[in-house]
């Protein structure tokens, strides 16, 4: 679905943040992007969503250069859940989720029945429907994050990019959101690309990992092959043991 060829991104055309990345994202995959702080994870997501313009190399979406897509066309293919969102203005949660429908809406037309249905479905899936009339200014961090995920769902795209979507959530909502993404991935065949810090969540949910280190793609393989005790120690300079019992799912112990 997405093919990246020799992607290089330099901040202010000087400092190299991503260097010569090549990889492929297959439709229906659940991809994790891992790496230390400053390794280029967020930059990579921004390049994939055309928020940043790449300096060298090409990103293909469905075999077409991503630069040939208009913002509106691209928004029908890729939805983004950014790391931070600040709200200076008093929108209701429903209004925020409705904005996910923008690529389908025409000027001066009011929200269609389909828009309203998509928004309600997305808000129910993220358990935010009861917050629909609440101002986003008074929502808690976790509620806000779910509202923003709902907006991405309302966008109804084959792929969703998420930048650390569960870092601010309590454990219950972490699993809720990850389970939701997993369901969307399996049932609706949505491609998920998620920047994630929690190795155990990565191990449980993703089926492929891209590992970034100082702007280089140092690994791109199946999650179970990457998340081994040796690799985690090597990449993050921390001791870790991957425990594989017969009666539980594998998990990682840090020491």
């Amino acid at each position: 679905m997405i093919e990246v060829k020799n992607l290089t991104y330099r901040a202010n055309k000087q400092k190299v943040l991503l260097s010569n990345l090549s990889f492929e994202i297959e439709e229906g995959g659940f991809y994790g992007v891992i790496g230390n702080n400053g390794s280029g994870k967020t930059t990579l997501l921004r390049c994939l969503s055309k928020t940043l313009e790449v300096n060298d190399g090409t990103i293909f979406l469905n075999h077409k250069d991503i630069n040939t897509y208009s913002a509106r066309q691209l928004a029908k293919h890729i939805a983004v859940v950014p790391q931070h969102t600040d709200f200076l203005f008093d929108f209701s949660a429903h209004q925020i989720v409705m904005m996910g429908r923008s690529p389908y809406q025409k000027r001066l037309r009011s929200d269609s029945e389909q828009d309203l249905q998509s928004v309600q479905r997305a808000m129910e899936q993220t358990s935010t429907w009861h917050l629909r009339d609440t101002s986003v200014k008074v929502l808690s961090g976790g509620e806000l994050q779910r509202v923003i995920i709902a907006r991405a769902l309302a966008q109804d795209t084959p792929a969703i990019l998420l930048d650390e979507p569960v870092s601010n959530l309590d454990i219950k909502h972490q699993f809720e959101i990850m389970n939701l993404l997993s369901t969307l991935n399996r049932q609706a065949n949505k491609t998920i690309i998620i920047v994630i810090h929690d190795m155990n969540l990565a191990l449980t949910y993703t089926n492929r990992l891209l590992v970034l280190h100082n702007g280089d793609l140092i690994a791109n393989a199946q999650t179970k092959d990457i998340l081994t005790s040796e690799n985690i120690s090597r990449i993050f300079s921390i001791k870790a043991t991957v425990v594989k019992d017969n009666d539980t799912k594998p998990y990682i112990l840090f020491s």
Partner: protein, 338 residues
Amino acid sequence: MKNRNLIIVLLIIAVVILMFVGCVVGTANIGLNEAWQILLSVFTGSKHPEISQSAYYIVLNIRLPRVLMAMVSGAGLSVCGVAFQAIFRNPLSDPYVLGVSSGASLGAALAIIVGLDGVLWGVSGLSFITALATVLLIIGISSMGNRLHTTTLLLAGISINFLISALISLLMILNQQEMDRIIFWTMGSLASANFENVAITAFFVLIGVVVISLYARDLNALLLGSQTARNIGINVEKTKKIILLFSTLMIGVIVSFTGVIGFVGLVVPHIVRLSVGADNRRILPYSLLGGMLFMLVSDIVARVAIPPSELPIGSITSLIGSPIFIYLLFNAKKKLSR
């Protein structure tokens, strides 16, 4: 929904009543009934024999055009405020605060000095150009990478206001024979309104309001920040350029006829936002009518406050506007320190 329509209707009724009041009050003593007969004569074409010619002249050629100018410029300034607040993603933005109105007034003053006031569109044209130059200058000063820094934006606006008032003072001293006319641009006044001015201003305000309304949904998305707006399918750069171009066009034309009238674009959208929320599709129609009301009231106050002299309308709007601006600034400070 019913409630909202009702409020729109009430606002329209209030505008009509104030239009009438605006035609009645003033130094020349013309009674309610007389003013009514005179206004009716516009539609019937027949003049009442007992009403003097001068009363007809005052109501139809002096008061009516300035009332209409108050409405048109109020609507334009307040819609521009909505547009600026979305583009700069800052509830404190307004053409006056950011120095764009002053920029326009500098152009108007220059045009008079070099004698462009005889040329068609001369004053309006130059005031649009200098307003646009001010917008570009502010964006240049306050952008950091892709973002506009709020504090820098306001400081840039304030310093530009300083710079331009210095330049205008200089122009006045160097061109003492035109001093009165230039002062007019710095204080703001509706006194020179005539039907031709009103028609030209209304034309540009109408175009601007239509274009900005077409982009109301995009303006909502811009309030979430450029990156998010782009991710949900908005062509951010194009939208910003179009909105800035048309709102600056409105400012340029309005200022060239009324001078600098401050804070309308700040006060009205702010009050509207408190009652209808952040959705620009709702804010725009209310702000349009609210801007008309605000200017009609300010104009009436300016005329009746200290008879027989008339206060500059800009001083009235600033008296109301600056406390609200300070209040908003105070709120913004509280948010930053949290």
